[in-house]
Subunit: 146 residues, 4 copies
């Protein structure tokens, strides 16, 4: 799917907003791709992000997927917008084990008020193929900037 940005400053605005997400500093998430309708956030494995079995907690996988979805939606919104998540659904496909996790979000259906986005989260270990560990389908809402 090809997307077209209506805000010429979208990439800068996504980066500025991401820089304000202090949770990303805490967990180590990095914004690694910003294109119209597509955003990626990467997260290196850390032992303090894990659940009882040593895998990255599903809520942290969700954290990077949700931010990626929000910014993918935001990248297609007109200037003077704000974005918030209305809802999301996550299927956890495999244990989140690996060295690097990448959430790749892409807009499925942009809208004036609501935008539907999907994100796949891949785990990579060493030289292995990325494995799909989770997939999110969610709804993001545009608000006029306050």
């Amino acid at each position: 799917m090809m997307h077209q940005a209506s805000n010429p400053a979208f990439a800068d605005e996504v980066r500025q907003s991401f820089a304000k997400q202090s949770i990303m500093g805490l967990i180590g998430g990095e914004l690694t791709r910003v294109e119209p309708g597509i955003v990626e956030i990467s997260l290196p494995y850390r032992a303090d992000l894990t659940q009882q079995d040593g895998y990255v907690h599903a809520g942290i996988v969700t954290t990077i997927a949700d931010s990626a979805c929000g910014y993918a939606a935001y990248s297609l919104m007109p200037p003077e917008s704000e974005v918030l998540a209305v809802e999301f659904k996550v299927n956890l496909l495999r244990p989140a084990k690996g060295e690097l996790f990448v959430a790749r979000a892409e807009v499925i259906k942009p809208g004036r008020t609501l935008t539907v986005v999907r994100a796949d989260v891949f785990a990579t270990s060493g030289a292995g193929e990325p494995q799909l560990v989770a997939t999110m389908q969610g709804t993001m809402m545009r608000l006029p900037r306050r």
Copy 2:
């Protein structure tokens, strides 16, 4: 709904497993209620848990809701079980602002393999009434302990 635990050691096992979730140490989540089919996790507000507007990130709200759901399901499982999240859906009802967040999970339908659980996340500020900020509906799976 009344639930009956089939594992007499369920509360100790939930506490021991929760203690291994190192993510809870990182974000400051605490296990504050463990009963058959009902589990609560509390999270005090911290500035480093927030998204761009200063509210607690939806992924962190999800983190405490998901763990509460998992342990609520686990509390009803027979001994020698492990639990993992299959999927969850979260509706974000209000911005997650407040001083204390409590995720309260309750089993809707226990099952031999799959257990369906709901969690409500409430935010409290000062002496105000708790506000419902998010609600999760999810599926947890029992595995025999390895």
Copy 3:
């Protein structure tokens, strides 16, 4: 939860709109309760509503749950509104067998644009207790009437 209707004609408008849902005539769905924020739709079992095992198809269970959610949301909207479903999630808890199915929807969080609703679908057989066969969590949207 107590809800207050802002449209004094809400019950009549729900009934009039329901009467236009020709799918309800096809499957035999009936509107059996309309209160502020709460709507029930009932559906007697029929063999031509079933999937391969003779249970009512999950999509038909969803049909009555979705309409119940939509009208529960609508019942709290101001005059001159229209309602549409944005998204819903359904957990199927037991096979949909029984003689009568009742979808009971209740608004969790009303909003100016988006309203979050939950519906439980119960099956009854003979003099037995109603069994919860499915639960829906969904988002309904208000549009100004065209």
Copy 4:
């Protein structure tokens, strides 16, 4: 994604099971594609399938999407399996208007017990391009045949 069927009779078994879904006779759904991991169900528009605005009801869109997901999962299961839907989530992207609706399901992650499937539902009017009207993400479960 390439999928490999483990049951050489998968296509016949899908067709036989579909033929038993009496709901498909009622609404006019037809099985129009069966490949390993991919199933399509088509539904011509009929006025008696609609909601209050004359669009096909979201529950009927869900009915064909859910069956397509179930059979896509089933097509990859070993012989002597049965399939049931655990849960699904549907985002409704546009009003379901058109002359023909096609639900195209594809397995995202097959599993021994649980299989995650996605379905897109497209509407076509006259010679126009198919429009994506809904997308489903769901979990299907394998049971040994009784």
